[in-house]
């Protein structure tokens, strides 16, 4: 279905970047502030849903050639993988670790393995939400 609403298309191009910025911010802020993988993934999927609504589904699927079911599977694999990664250090399942590192640009940063787990959660949320929206939007 083609629509010729120039205002909506132009504004959506700008607004998508604000939504993506907010999604990344919420994802990274999750350790010490409100936010985290679930809400970051939801905001990220609203950016995709906005693109799917404003432009064609075919156009966006050409521009973003992911299979969102595989994205969800990759997220689940990542989350379980961090759980099994703790076995390498001879501790129990899903034990999390953190340490402080001096990165060249950011200064002293606390890096945790919870972030990788949260990345898995975010990918699962994005994959599931976009898959649901795409499957109910298609005509049978």
């Amino acid at each position: 279905m083609k629509i010729n609403n120039v205002i909506l298309r132009t504004v959506a191009r700008v607004v998508v970047y604000i939504i993506l910025t907010l999604a990344v911010y919420l994802f990274l802020a999750g350790h010490n502030n409100p936010g985290g993988g679930f809400i970051g993934g939801l905001v990220l999927s609203t950016a995709f849903v906005l693109l799917f609504i404003v432009f064609d589904i075919e156009t966006i699927q050409k521009a973003l050639p992911f299979d969102f079911k595989k994205v969800a599977a990759l997220g689940a694999l990542l989350a379980v993988g961090t759980g099994f990664g703790s076995f390498l250090f001879d501790v129990s399942f899903l034990t999390q670790a953190f340490d402080y590192f001096d990165l060249p640009f950011f200064g002293e940063v606390e890096l945790t393995t919870v972030t990788i787990f949260e990345l898995g959660v975010a990918l699962v949320v994005v994959g599931v939400v976009v898959t649901i929206i795409l499957s109910i939007s298609e005509d049978v």
Binding site: L8, V11, I18, L22
Partner: protein, 123 residues
């Protein structure tokens, strides 16, 4: 009066004006006759109300606690961009669904344009 007191006063004033603006917008939605004038009241004045309230909150936190909230700035920009477009889409959908204009309307220029376009496509 110190600087932070003056800034706090300005922030309170901005939030009060924002609240009054939201009330005016709500009264406009109730009292206007058709969807187009209602959306005129709903988009413009409530956008300004939200912008003033967010700006007041931003100013308050920036001066009293020294916390510059990027989220509030992003919210101001986001609402300023999206809310008029939402109003535009609602009125456009209403016009395409042939919602009648108010009885006091004297001119509908879009109707002529659309009729011309339909005749051209008919040929």
């Amino acid at each position: 009066m110190s600087v932070s007191t003056i800034a706090e006063f300005i922030a309170v004033l901005l939030m009060l004006i924002g609240a009054i603006m939201a009330l005016i917008s709500a009264i406009g939605i109730i009292r206007f006759p058709d969807i187009y004038t209602r959306s005129h009241a709903a988009t413009k004045s409530s956008t300004l109300a939200v912008l003033l309230t967010l700006l007041g909150a931003f100013l308050y936190f920036a001066t009293t606690t020294g916390f510059v909230s990027v989220r509030l700035i992003l919210g101001i920009v986001f609402v300023f961009i999206t809310s008029p477009v939402a109003g535009h889409l609602i009125t456009r959908a209403a016009y395409r669904a042939n919602v009648k204009l108010a009885d006091t309307t004297i001119e509908d220029e879009l109707a002529d344009v659309l009729k011309e376009k339909q005749q051209k496509e008919g040929k």
